[in-house]
């Protein structure tokens, strides 16, 4: 397995050889930031294109195919349009908060994005409490959404923001419980260690068998809710709230919400791929030496991206199948069904681990 540490170490020593320490750190930080922003933009474009195409396929349509071959340039045109649009300012709104809110959302999204383990050694933020940090940072996005709804001075925005806040806070509980259950299994909170462990011992979804599979399914449901996506897209139920909390945004301010929504979906899928499907770990089968030998030649980043897109397909399948829930049904689902289930699963997983009912 290719270890990305070689590249970063080489770069670090190269810069250190002729630059002072602070300049090295500065240059490395700028480089890392550039890499994050580039990856963020590239994957957002891929995701938007994928969403449109896959949604069309699920509805027996073809999807965009007019702009460029197979409609490939459609997203670029949309981005161009969004960037050149006027940013409208309204009277009687809190201008400062109105323009700060999208940045809070995008910051939370980008910070969680940099928690993803792309390859062995290619991870931007890797704490010993990585999973916990991920949960903590992702909750800042809610503040951005609530501020957006309040500062627009518009009742639709406000109702949308309130719904979104209630929904995200509620479903965060389920996500937290599921993550706790999986941490029970792995015994570590660091994303890199979780991946390394899965390369050595096998994927968590197989190691944890029944409770892990159930956790995975519940995670897919809670993840869609956490990203404010259908069937849980109450905050932007367009038939009743026009566009929810981002009704009053235009131009790139709206673009940030759009971007953040798609990238949150990507992050959600990325975390699922890391925690359940082994992250960058190749699919190794004990005993099949030839197979394992070939699989190890494929870089970890390829495996990671493949797994992320697999989970994304599942999430899109869910999103384009079910009708939108009413807000009370949505909260009922979380508090009366999902939360008891995830709590039970946490206990079951803890019992499984303590009595050794895991496949190693």
């Amino acid at each position: 397995m290719f270890d990305f540490n070689i590249v970063t170490q080489w770069l670090d020593t190269l810069l250190m050889s002729f630059l002072p320490a602070w300049a090295t750190v500065l240059i490395e930080c700028v480089l890392v930031a550039l890499v994050i922003i580039t990856l963020y933009a590239v994957f957002a474009i891929v995701m938007i294109y994928m969403e449109r195409k896959v949604c069309a396929w699920f509805q027996c349509r073809l999807g965009p195919d007019r702009v460029g071959p197979w409609g490939l340039l459609q997203v670029f045109c949309d981005v161009l349009k969004m960037m050149t649009k006027e940013i409208v300012n309204f009277r009687n709104t809190d201008q400062l908060l109105h323009h700060v809110a999208p940045f809070l959302v995008i910051t939370a999204s980008m910070t969680t994005f940099s928690c993803l383990p792309w390859n062995k050694g290619a991870q931007i933020i890797d704490f010993n409490v990585g999973v916990f940090f991920f949960l903590a940072i992702s909750s800042i996005g809610v503040v951005g959404i609530l501020l957006a709804g309040w500062s627009a001075n518009n009742k639709y925005s406000l109702i949308g923001a309130m719904r979104s806040g209630a929904q995200i806070i509620s479903y965060e509980l389920s996500i937290g419980m599921i993550m706790l259950a999986m941490i029970c299994l792995t015994g570590t909170m660091s994303f890199s260690e979780i991946c390394q462990q899965q390369e050595n011992l096998g994927w968590n979804i197989i190691r944890g068998h029944v409770p892990a599979v159930l956790c995975f399914i519940l995670y897919l449901i809670a993840g869609n809710a956490e990203c404010n996506r259908g069937p849980f897209d109450m905050p932007e139920a367009e038939s009743e709230l026009t566009a929810g909390y981002h009704t009053e945004y235009s131009g790139m301010d709206f673009g940030y919400y759009y971007l953040a929504e798609y990238m949150n979906l990507f992050i959600c899928a990325g975390i699922a791929a890391t925690i359940f499907l082994g992250g960058w770990a190749a699919p190794l089968v004990p005993g099949w030496e030839q197979w394992n030998h070939i699989m190890l030649y494929v870089p970890g980043a390829v495996w990671f991206v493949l797994k992320v897109f697999f989970v994304l397909m599942l999430l899109l399948w869910e999103r384009w199948t079910f009708p939108r829930l009413r807000i009370d049904q949505l909260l009922t689902l979380e508090w009366k069904y999902m939360l008891p289930m995830t709590m039970t699963l946490l206990v079951v997983m803890a019992l499984c681990v303590s009595f050794g009912f895991v496949w190693n």
Binding site: W57, C60, Y337
Partner: protein
């Protein structure tokens, strides 16, 4: 959901969700139905019943079926149709003949009342769709082709006061004439083919009844017109004619319905 207990509700919910996922999952791999319009304009075919534009079919001899009765014009809620007709002498008899059939496509709301009311089946809707033009005037079109004339009817039974209604009655129920002899022996057999025939027969009977009803309405309208202008001989004659036609049609429909009922037993 309220009547079910927590767990049975949960499991039935999960089951229905899985059904939904199965449906969309299958949809993902089915052939896509999108029509790639500008490219496929040569091959694209709309459903037969699509209401694109009103047309008057002409046969190869440049003949149409319109007798210029104007029922369609009366039926149209929007005043889309203008029927211009004249009385001509044919073999010493006065006969109404269509001169121009004007249809304003811009006013049409595609309700199809005109084609339903037409006793001759002379007009129908064609599945055309590229109807956009640059002026409103271009939307007003004449449906009968130049120099076209009304299709000659098969020889009328008797040269009485109302030769046309008889012919019309005979013609408007071609299904009835053909289907009755076939259906009557087939009815006792209770197989599916017979059922299908019976359904067809009943539909035909209903159509005949509808025709009769439409005719009755037209007759009443004609009568009202005649009453408004008592000294106009032509209108009076037209009203009588229409009334006679309506009665004939109604009797035919009744007879037909009776036959159907017999066949059913």
């Amino acid at each position: 959901m309220e009547n079910k207990s927590y767990f049975s509700g949960l499991f039935s919910g999960i089951k229905s969700l899985c059904t939904g996922l199965k449906v969309t999952g299958r949809e993902l791999f089915t052939k896509k139905v999108t029509e790639r319009y500008p490219e496929n304009r040569k091959t694209n075919e709309l459903p037969e019943r699509f209401r694109g534009v009103l047309v008057m079919p002409h046969n190869e001899k440049n003949e149409h079926k319109c007798i210029g009765c104007g029922i369609c014009e009366m039926q149209c809620p929007n005043g889309t149709i203008k029927v211009e007709s004249e009385m001509v002498e044919v073999d010493g008899k006065k006969k109404k003949q269509l001169v121009r059939y004007i249809y304003d496509h811009g006013c049409c709301m595609y309700c199809m009342l005109c084609t339903r009311a037409c006793p001759q089946g002379a007009i129908t809707f064609a599945p055309e769709y590229e109807c956009a033009v640059f002026s409103r005037e271009a939307l007003i079109m004449q449906l009968n082709q130049p120099d076209s004339k009304c299709e000659e009817k098969p020889a009328p039974a008797k040269p009485a006061v109302a030769p046309k209604p008889a012919a019309a009655a005979a013609e408007s129920q071609p299904v009835a004439g053909n289907a009755t002899p076939d259906a009557a022996p087939a009815a006792p057999a209770a197989d599916s083919a017979a059922d299908e025939k019976m359904a067809k027969l009943m539909a035909a009977a209903k159509k005949a009844a509808d025709n009769a009803a439409a005719e009755k309405v037209a007759a009443e309208e004609a009568a009202a017109k005649a009453a408004a202008a008592p000294d106009d001989a032509e209108l009076k004659a037209a009203a009588e004619e229409a009334a006679a036609k309506a009665t004939k049609l109604a009797t035919a429909a009744e007879n037909f319905a009776k036959k159907v009922a017999e066949a059913q037993q």
